[in-house]
């Protein structure tokens, strides 16, 4: 379902864009506004992060958004309600991104059913390696949801295959060591890594961590299926406000190329 959506879209666009917001940050109203701007500007799919108090894999920008959202009193239920609203309002696939404890406290099965009811496509849970994910995998499968798993430069080929066998929809390829939000050097070493990813799976590849401008997207075009813009839009909202998002997104992909098609 998610995989075929991506493959179809890829026939239209050389590279897809996935963006990331932290739910309730700066506020739910702002979030809704941001989603609208993003969708209008051509974003192809979105991660909605349910904030967690211990976001171990996130860098300073997203970390701080998590904390501020929680400080504002954001609850999981509010995040669910919001996701229902955006799914109803916008016609792109939405994924949850959060840490495993959020699912665990909600009840992993219930969480999947809820996602399914809400019309979500899948979830990214960065602290859940497949080895720990038995219950999760079953629940997601039975609800026809995509569990998105992660490749990293430190993942051996063997393990990539194993991970890919658990994942659905696409594989999230982390561009480099480190956390979200810092700079990535898209160098030659990086090619070797992406090649390894390609060999390990037939699933589409999303590439994230440090993607921040048109240059990065141009570089990734033809190499990955999806470019993930994470911290950069949050930083943008922090600095220039919600209104700046649309223009930023529109500037990321070469319009000419898009038009040529």
């Amino acid at each position: 379902m998610l995989e075929s959506y991506i493959k179809n879209k890829r026939r239209e666009k050389e590279i897809l864009l996935m963006t990331h917001i932290v739910l309730g940050y700066p506020s739910f109203d702002d979030c809704f506004q941001i989603v609208r701007e993003m969708v209008d500007a051509g974003v192809d799919l979105m991660e909605l992060q349910i904030p967690f108090s211990e976001p171990i894999a996130d860098g300073p920008v997203i970390l701080s958004a998590n904390q501020k959202a929680l400080a504002n009193g954001v609850t999981v239920q509010q995040c669910i309600d919001f996701s229902k609203q955006v799914v109803r309002s916008f016609d792109i696939p939405f994924l949850f991104m959060t840490y495993y404890n959020i699912l665990f406290q909600y009840g992993v099965k219930d969480f999947s059913s809820m996602m399914s009811d809400a019309g979500m496509y899948g979830a990214i849970v960065p602290d859940l390696p497949p080895e720990e994910g038995e219950e999760y995998l079953q629940a997601m499968k039975s609800c026809h949801l995509s569990p998105i798993f992660i490749f990293t430069p430190t993942t051996p080929d063997e393990r990539m295959k194993k991970i890919a066998s658990c994942g659905e929809g696409f594989i999230y390829c982390v561009a480099r060591k480190g956390v979200t939000g810092s700079q990535t050097d898209f160098t030659s070493e990086f090619h070797g890594y992406l090649e390894r990813c390609r060999k390990a799976t037939t699933l589409p590849l999303a590439l994230g961590f440090g993607v921040k401008d048109k240059e990065d997207i141009d570089f990734l075009t033809g190499k990955a299926d999806i470019a993930v813009i994470g911290s950069q839009t949050i930083r943008l909202v922090d600095q220039k406000g919600v209104g700046a998002v649309g223009e930023f997104i529109r500037g990321l992909r070469s319009q000419i190329k898009g038009a040529e098609k």
């Binding site: 976001p55 171990i56 894999a57 860098g59 495993y100 404890n101 665990f104 406290q105 992660i150 051996p156």
Partner: protein
């Protein structure tokens, strides 16, 4: 990673994919070291020449007479180099780091004890060292920050989250996912993803091994009960592991803070306020809300002020092998005060929790019984907190006068 370090459903390794190989490498190095009989020998050797293992088992004659019940023995981890059981763990991990050929270590610290221990180990082994410490703790525990810096460590004040221990752990993980090739994360307690709980317990088990031998040679029998305070659980696991297969009652004492009813405490296993969850890479009892967000905790002892607890202890709670109790801040200061006056020992505020509970129970035991209290660390480090607890006027005056000198 095959054996995932589960203890009846507690534990595991909920780690970002980027760290999986690092954990595999660490697990392999640890398992190899464990199988190598020379390793434990080397470990014991350095602990006996660099620190002062075996640490003594002190008979507390005055406390025994005072309570009129069981004969009270105290295991003296406070005499370790750097003043706490933390030395056992950091030196053990230091030896592993050497074997893995890494050159840099990082660690989290709350009270600063584990940070000082790690910085000390790093100096001794010639590793580069960065210590993450919540900004609030940096401010509260300046003496330890001062020594860490003198020891050559970089101390990073973590400004995110609640700016205390758990946030320092998160930040250490963030460093690790970036620098895992050169860097080992020296986790300070028997928590975190597998193999940390097992590994830290392994190194701390030297406490229990010694204590068992010592009490048998002194008393000709096993103790009736063994008491240890429980922060992350490393000193408790360390001493308990020596008596696990014996008919000995094991008592873990958590931070009761301002009382279990107040909500301001850090009791995960002795209160109903905690529930099972997954955070910081492992599954255990956490003090969390119904959404799974971690709560703020409170204890007079910075080293016990933590939301999670060793998964092995959660398991031992479920099986009933360990009994868990809580001691309030007030009782802890009383126990500290009594121990100082009666025995000339200054337990750390953390350790004083174990004393407080033992003091409740000692009078109810027979004079033929003996008990062991694990004095996990020394209390000099706590002078700022203890002086405040006693509201000592001489101390306040001293500080105000020092401040005037600095202002001048």
């Amino acid at each position: 990673m095959d054996h995932r370090g589960y203890y009846d459903g507690f534990g595991g390794a909920f780690i970002p994919e980027i760290l999986v190989s690092t954990f595999d490498e660490l697990s392999a190095a640890f398992q190899k070291a464990k199988r190598d009989p020379d390793f434990w020998q080397e470990y014991k050797e350095i602990m006996s020449t660099y620190s002062c293992r075996p640490t003594p088992l002190t008979f507390a004659g005055n406390l025994t007479r005072h309570f009129g019940g069981a004969r009270i023995y105290i295991k003296r981890e406070d005499l370790n180099h750097t003043g706490a059981h933390k030395a056992n763990n950091v030196i053990g991990q230091g030896l592993l780091v050497q074997r893995m050929g890494k050159k840099r270590v990082i660690a989290e610290t709350g009270a600063g004890q584990h940070g000082v221990a790690t910085a000390t180990m790093a100096a001794r082994f010639g590793f580069e060292c960065t210590i993450y410490m919540g900004e609030v703790d940096v401010r509260r525990q300046r003496p330890n920050v001062f020594w860490m810096e003198r020891l050559g460590a970089k101390v990073v004040a973590v400004k995110d989250g609640t700016r205390i221990l758990k946030d320092a752990i998160n930040e250490a993980f963030r460093d690790w996912v970036t620098h895992m090739d050169t860097t080992h994360y020296v986790l300070g307690t028997a928590c975190g993803p597998h193999p940390f709980p097992e590994m830290v317990t392994y190194f701390q088990s030297i406490i229990g091994q010694e204590a068992r031998k010592q009490i048998i040679s002194r008393e000709g029998k096993l103790p009736a009960r063994v008491y240890a305070c429980v922060g992350g659980g490393s000193n408790a696991m360390g001493i308990f592991s020596g008596f696990m297969d014996d008919p000995v009652e094991l008592v873990g004492v958590e931070a009761g803070g301002e009382g279990l009813d107040s909500g301001r405490h850090a009791s995960r296993l002795s209160s109903d306020d905690a529930s099972i969850g997954i955070a910081q890479g492992y599954k255990t009892y956490f003090l969390q809300d119904s959404d799974g967000q971690m709560k703020e905790t409170h204890s007079i002892a910075a080293g016990l002020d933590y939301v999670g607890v060793s998964p092995i202890l959660s398991h031992l709670k479920e099986t009933g092998r360990v009994r868990f109790e809580a001691a309030t801040d007030r009782k802890v200061v009383e126990a500290l005060s009594l121990t100082i006056q009666k025995e000339g020992l200054i337990p750390a505020l953390e350790s004083s929790h174990a004393f407080a509970q033992a003091f409740v129970e000692a009078p109810t035991l027979s004079k033929q019984d003996c008990i062991i209290i694990n004095q996990s660390g020394r209390g000099d480090k706590d002078i700022f907190t203890v002086a405040d607890a006693f509201s000592d006027p001489g101390w306040k005056e001293f500080i105000m006068q020092k401040a005037e000198e600095y202002n001048a």
